[in-house]
């Protein structure tokens, strides 16, 4: 997944906003933002944090600077282990053309010593959005690891996987009905990028997205639960 190909694929799918959310890392976000320059595609810098509870949390920001501040906090909370490429794959940082810049040596496939609610609060304090990822997945997810949505979660929305079927899903987890839901590709490959969540917003910003997730000021969010093409 190199930046120009991500941008091309997103544009072909008709996406207006994407977020770059590497695991515990945001070093590649700026390259995708640059690659999208002039295309009309908005790219939010972000991260998929793995919390103390091994819950994955999407953290989305407006600027690379905010994301960098969050990265600094996350680095301090990650164990000082080296990556083992034979197990976890190489952790490349690339530029806007997809050229190799450096290889991240620290292990990113670990849990940060930050509790879920604490992470949500910190992301909000930095001006970001916090959305637990793929909550219906059997691993690394809010519902698998913590059994239920915590009472004082404070998150902006919940993300469900593209396999989530509303009839079965809402019957298994009735509490999800009370939440704004989004569907993303959780794309690790170009073919997994999805266009399933429609935002009615005035601009592709964290503030506008947060209004839409709350259904405030005429902003809206809607998921296409029954896409005609996969």
């Amino acid at each position: 997944m190199i930046p120009p190909l991500i941008v091309r694929r997103a544009c072909r799918l008709g996406l207006g906003i994407i977020a770059v959310t590497d695991h515990n890392a945001c070093a590649n976000a700026e390259a995708v933002i640059r690659a999208a320059d002039g295309t009309g595609l908005a790219v939010l810098p972000g991260m998929e944090l793995q919390t103390r509870e091994e819950v994955h949390l999407l953290c989305l920001f407006d600027t690379v600077e905010q994301c960098g501040q969050w990265q600094a906090e996350v680095w301090r909370a990650l164990p000082p282990l080296a990556n083992r490429e034979e197990f976890f794959g190489p952790q490349y940082v690339v530029d806007a053309d997809g050229e190799w810049v450096r290889t991240e040596e620290r292990l990113l496939a670990a849990s940060a010593e930050i509790g879920l609610e604490q992470a949500v609060a910190r992301v909000h304090a930095l001006g970001g959005l916090a959305i637990p990822a793929h909550v219906d997945r059997p691993s690394f997810s809010l519902l698998a690891n913590l059994g239920m949505v915590p009472a004082n979660l404070g998150a902006d929305a919940l993300e469900v996987t593209s396999r989530f079927q509303p009839e079965e899903g809402f019957s298994q987890w009735p509490e999800l009905r009370a939440w704004p839901l989004v569907v993303n590709g959780d794309a690790h490959r170009l073919s997994e990028i999805q266009n399933r969540t429609l935002f009615k917003v005035a601009a592709p910003t964290v503030y506008e997205l947060s209004l839409a997730l709350r259904g405030a000021e005429g902003r809206k969010v809607a998921v296409d639960w029954h896409p005609t093409q996969s």
């Binding site: 509870e53 091994e54 509790g115 879920l116 609610e117 519902l143 698998a144 690891n145 913590l146 059994g147 239920m148 915590p150 009472a151 004082n152």
Partner: protein, 119 residues
Amino acid sequence: MITLSEIVQKLSLEVAGSEGNLERRIVAGYASDLLSCAMNRAKKDYVWVTLQSHANVVAVASLLDLAAVIITEGNRPDEETLARAQREGVSLLLTPKTTFTVVGELTALGVRGEPEPSS
């Protein structure tokens, strides 16, 4: 059947949350760090061993009416979670030991993964 107070004493556990019912008897044990698994497999009067210290641990213990939760590896619930455990009457037993060690000690004391068949 062994009581909570015997386990607290023999495993040198710290009692947090509710202290109200340490004479409660334990029928069996369960260990997992996935709360969704604990919700499916642990039952009334079980002791649940986990390293998770999230507030939802108290919610699950209360929901299932567990005898107690042993929280391992020195993990401590925050004050709000401890207060909630107090309110809900949930016994949280804390230890620096690992889950492996705790389960081994519980097994040596006769606690099994399933309740004894009643005769």
